[in-house]
């Protein structure tokens, strides 16, 4: 057996350039190691690529706030040509799936048993009153789901207004309904012309996906090193804690960006959400947010050191708030002041605002610049905090 020459590798041995070279060598080794583990460990790929796909399809197609084909009962107490014309306009509308009845009692039964969501009563004096310009309709709605009830109310008013508008144009008498009076209200929905809830849901969905994969990826991989005991060996080498953190961040940053590209592509081509701002702003904001999410994951897993606890904590600390408090689903302005204050520390809030403006409004710099600055600040704070927590000790 040949003898081995003694190789001295203490850090203070070489010149500055040599030290930098060693640093790069260590970093490269950590990056390669991590990349190989990602490729060989199906769970990282699952979180980075499969999970976003499932979430996009599930939420994108499954989650919609639009109400279509509402089952309603249309009660015609006394048949007349006007009543039939009005009922027909409900039947023609894509929003309703009306059932024509001739008495209120069966309609009420259907409302109670949940087979219809509302009742439109065309009273027996409808035609007579229409002539005198004082026609009335009764709308009964199930108020237990107030949100849907309001939407259906709007639809019914719209349908009646359309019908009476047609009547007015035809030179006939008009219903006393307010909208079809001398003042005509022309509604325009900006940023979401089609009034399609996907327009604002899909950008929010991108936020959810990026939150989940960004934070989950790093929190799992760091805790895994603690659990398997590999970190204990790694710590007793010339490697510096900053290098370990960087070695964890870069590969998963790239993986999370792959997830983002999947999201952006599906937003554009699957859900046809318009991109009105510029692509580079979209990418820039997403990269910033990815850094924030990775930072949260690193911080959590450096602190708890167990994969199970880390993943649960990540869900609680990032996913749930991003879902409930980011403005993705619920309007922040309608929240109590105390809850609204909490939302200001949530990175997801800023990313939702950024994405909604880039996708639907365009490059609105008054939104983009302050929100991007906040995200950048958060990323920096998280990096420093991870650095502080990730000391090279076991305690």
């Amino acid at each position: 057996m040949s003898t081995v020459s003694i190789v001295r590798t203490d850090g203070d041995g070489g010149a500055g350039a040599d030290a930098t070279h060693r640093k790069l060598q260590r970093l490269r080794a950590l990056l390669w190691k991590e990349a190989r583990q990602v490729v060989r460990d199906p769970s990282s790929i699952a979180i980075g690529v499969i999970l976003p796909l499932i979430l996009i399809l599930l939420f994108g197609f499954g989650l919609s706030l639009d109400v279509k084909d509402v089952p309603i009962a249309v009660v015609i107490e006394q048949p007349s040509s006007e009543a039939s014309a009005l009922a027909a306009s409900f039947q023609l509308s894509s929003y309703f799936h009306p059932q024509l009845l001739h008495a209120l009692v069966p309609a009420e039964q259907r409302l109670m048993s949940g087979r219809v969501d509302g009742i439109v009563v065309i009273p027996n004096d409808f035609s007579a009153r229409l002539g005198s310009g004082d026609a009335r309709l009764q709308l009964v709605l199930r108020g237990s789901d107030a949100n849907s009830a309001r939407i259906i109310e709007g639809y019914v008013e719209g349908a009646v207004a359309t019908w009476s508008g047609q009547l007015a144009e035809a030179g006939q008498t008009r219903i006393q309904n307010g909208t079809a009076g001398p003042v005509q209200l022309q509604t325009r929905l900006w940023f979401n012309e089609a009034d399609d809830s996907r327009y604002f849901l899909v950008p929010g969905l991108v936020v959810l996906v990026m939150t989940l994969i960004g934070a989950l990826l790093t929190s799992m991989v760091m805790a895994r090193e603690w659990e398997r005991g590999t970190l204990e060996a790694l710590l007793v080498t010339p490697v510096r804690s900053g290098e370990i953190l960087l070695g964890k961040t870069v590969p998963y940053f790239l993986l999370a960006l792959m997830g983002f590209v999947l999201c952006a592509l599906s937003a554009e081509f699957l859900f046809h959400v318009p991109l009105r701002g510029s692509l580079w702003v979209l990418f820039g904001a997403s990269m910033l947010y990815t850094l924030v999410a990775l930072g949260i994951g690193l911080l959590i897993s450096s602190a708890v050191k167990s994969q199970l606890v880390a993943s649960q904590l990540t869900m609680l600390a990032t996913f749930m708030p991003a879902f409930m408090l980011s403005g993705f689903l619920f309007d922040l302005r309608s929240m109590p002041a105390a809850v609204r204050l909490v939302t200001y520390v949530l990175p997801a809030r800023y990313y939702v605002a950024l994405l909604q403006s880039v996708f639907l409004a365009g490059d609105v710099w008054s939104v983009i610049i302050p929100d991007a600055l906040v995200l950048a600040l958060m990323a920096a704070v998280l990096a420093l905090a991870s650095r502080a927590v990730m000391r090279k000790t076991l305690v």
Binding site: S2, V4, T9, G11, K33, T230, A233, K392, T393
Partner: protein, 598 residues
């Protein structure tokens, strides 16, 4: 050797103090004023019972934990002030050796070489040596996770040697490794120290390993009991060590059990068919003149040279409360003739996992009331055999009768008559000792008064009463093992299976464990056990050595030992015999023995 560091010792601790503060519990003092010195170019062993503070000391030296008092210098550097400077120059292998299981052998080495800044030229020179030394050359592309236990340990060691460290810290490098791999690891370490001037500081629970080191440090409850050359420590037992030969018809184990309670005996272990004892006093002092039945009078005594282990036991005797493990009393002794026939009969047993034959047509018999040892290297098929005997795995072929029942047709009734202690601690960590016992008693169908009586019996017999309300997760290692055994004995099984029950346990805990096993066997319980400690095979009535799914040798410990007898080793130890049997079989099959790990 670097001349700059030659002057200072490799490691020097002065009054080192470390304690751990836990939530809602009194703090634990792990190191209580430890002073020790490790010199360059030496192989120093750190030994001591479980919880002595060995791992804490190594972690402090590696700069992984802050100390709470005293001084600790490694390579002349104050570790607390500049841990990174120390970490740049030493290498450390933790107990779980820090391999990346999804990286290959070569990739693991490359990673550590890069982290240590080893150049390509140095690698070209160093790698072939490492591969030759560890015999991992043919497996460079295999994933570390798919290596056998012994090979993983060797790879872990190789990763610490990608460059010559100025100090190498190894935490239990041979724990859970079979005797063959242990011998290989030991030879690598001795070679490195002798031929390359490496400085190694390792902690181990194998006292025979410490004996081969240049210096040994004995740690007990956070304090150093002794440090010096192992021969010096062995001399503490000078003129106190004897071999007693059992009389005709008397078993070595029976004699040993008798001697353990002798007031003037520190330690007694079965050894090559005889009993090796260490007396409390040198020479014949303390042998009761008026006691003709005193075994030290009635048996032939042959003075022997003290070993390191004897000195270690003498030292511990001075400080430690002597483990007065009352030999266990079974409530209903199993009458040897209760059923007649063997307790376990295995004929041509086969287990296949896909194309891999884990157990390959093995046959053996275990008589009632005997201790049967199943020995073999890692991956020999011992655990698979155990699981089939307990009805946890379905055999692929062959006959298997346990307690008179065919396990395949009547697993439930057969299982009620056997107890099983798995290799890994399989009790519920968050439950207390009593809650665990209650759960297992319920699982075995015990009720009411009988259940209470059995739990009371378990707490008393296994000396668990004082810790009855402690959660089992916070029990010290030795207590955990006792609790696991108590749970397995609640339903008074006729046959007890123990899979590596003493792995990772210290010498004292192992002694107490074997006392209980001996007592159980004397009362008719059949015990089947696997172990990596070859000395422990001496407690068995019969043993079988397995490798690659086959039984290579069967017989009494004496018969097995005789297999390795030759002119060069007239009195082979069990370890010699084990290695000889396995190596001979592997050569005979004409294959590289290391391939077994595949």
């Amino acid at each position: 050797m670097n001349p700059a560091t030659k002057a200072a010792p490799a490691l020097m601790a002065q009054g080192l103090y470390k304690r751990f503060v836990r939530k809602d519990q009194p703090p634990v003092t792990a190191l209580d004023g430890v002073s020790l010195t490790i010199y360059h170019g030496e192989l120093t062993a750190l030994v001591g019972p479980d919880g002595a503070g060995k791992t804490t000391l190594l972690r402090l030296a590696a700069g992984l934990l802050p100390r709470d008092g005293g001084a600790l210098e490694v390579l002349g550097i104050d570790v607390a002030r500049d841990p990174q400077a120390v970490q740049d120059r030493i290498s450390y292998m933790p107990q779980r050796f820090g391999l990346y299981e999804d990286l290959s052998v070569a990739e693991n080495l490359d990673l550590y070489a890069d982290l240590h800044g080893v150049t390509a030229a140095e690698r070209a020179q160093r790698y072939p040596v490492l591969f030759e030394m560890t015999a991992l050359g043919p497996f460079q592309r295999r994933l570390a996770g798919r290596l056998s236990g012994g090979m993983k340990q060797k790879l872990g060691l190789a990763c610490t040697l990608v460059r010559q460290p100025e100090l190498l810290l190894l935490d239990e490098p041979t724990a859970g490794v079979d005797p063959l791999s242990r011998r290989e690891l030991r030879e690598i370490m001795l070679h490195l120290v002798r031929d390359q001037g490496l400085t190694v500081f390792l902690c181990t629970s194998y006292l025979d390993e410490a004996e081969r080191c240049s210096r040994a440090i004995i740690l007990h409850q956070g304090t150093v009991l002794s440090q010096g050359p192992p021969q010096e420590i062995a001399q503490l037992a000078a003129e106190r060590c004897y071999l007693l030969t059992p009389r005709a018809g008397e078993s070595a184990r029976g004699l040993q059990a008798q001697l353990l309670d002798h007031p003037h005996i520190v330690d007694a272990v079965p050894d090559g068919g005889r009993v090796r004892i260490v007396r409390t006093e040198p020479a014949a002092i303390g042998v009761a003149a008026d006691e003709p039945n005193d075994p030290m009078r009635s048996h032939e005594l042959q003075a022997v040279r003290p070993r390191f282990e004897d000195g270690f036991m003498v030292l511990l005797q001075r400080v430690a409360r002597r483990e007065q493990a009352a030999p266990i009393t079974v409530t209903h002794p199993v009458r040897p003739d209760a059923q007649g026939g063997a307790a376990v009969r295995v004929e041509q047993l086969v287990k296949r996992f896909g194309a891999f034959v884990a157990v390959d047509h093995i046959s053996f018999e275990v008589q009632r009331g005997e201790i049967f040892g199943l020995l073999g290297p890692n991956g020999a098929g011992k655990t698979t055999t155990f699981r089939m005997l307990c009805g946890l795995l379905t055999p692929s072929g062959g006959q298997l009768r346990v307690a008179g029942a065919d396990v395949r047709t009547a697993p439930a009734s057969a299982r009620a008559r056997l107890g099983y202690v798995a290799q890994r601690f399989s009790l519920y960590g968050p439950l207390t000792v009593v809650e665990n016992l209650e759960f297992f008693a319920g699982a075995y169908g015990l009720r009411g008064e009988h259940k209470r009586a059995r739990i009371h019996w378990a707490l008393e017999q296994f000396d668990l009463g004082a810790r009855a309300q402690a959660t089992s997760a916070e029990l010290p290692g030795g207590y955990k093992q006792r609790l696991a055994m108590a749970a397995a004995l609640l339903h008074e099984p006729e046959i007890l299976f123990l899979d590596e029950p003493t792995s990772g346990a210290d010498a004292l805990a192992r002694r107490a464990f074997w006392r209980r096993i001996s007592a159980l066997a004397d009362q008719g319980v059949t015990v089947i056990v696997t172990t990596h400690f070859m000395q422990e095979a001496e407690y068995c009535d019969h043993i079988a050595i397995m490798d690659a799914g086959q039984v290579l040798a069967r017989g009494s410990p004496g018969e097995i030992r005789a297999l390795a007898g030759s002119d060069s080793t007239p009195e082979p130890t069990m370890e010699d015999a084990f290695i000889a049997v396995v190596e001979q079989a592997r050569r005979g099959l004409g294959r590289d023995g290391r391939e077994v790990a595949a």
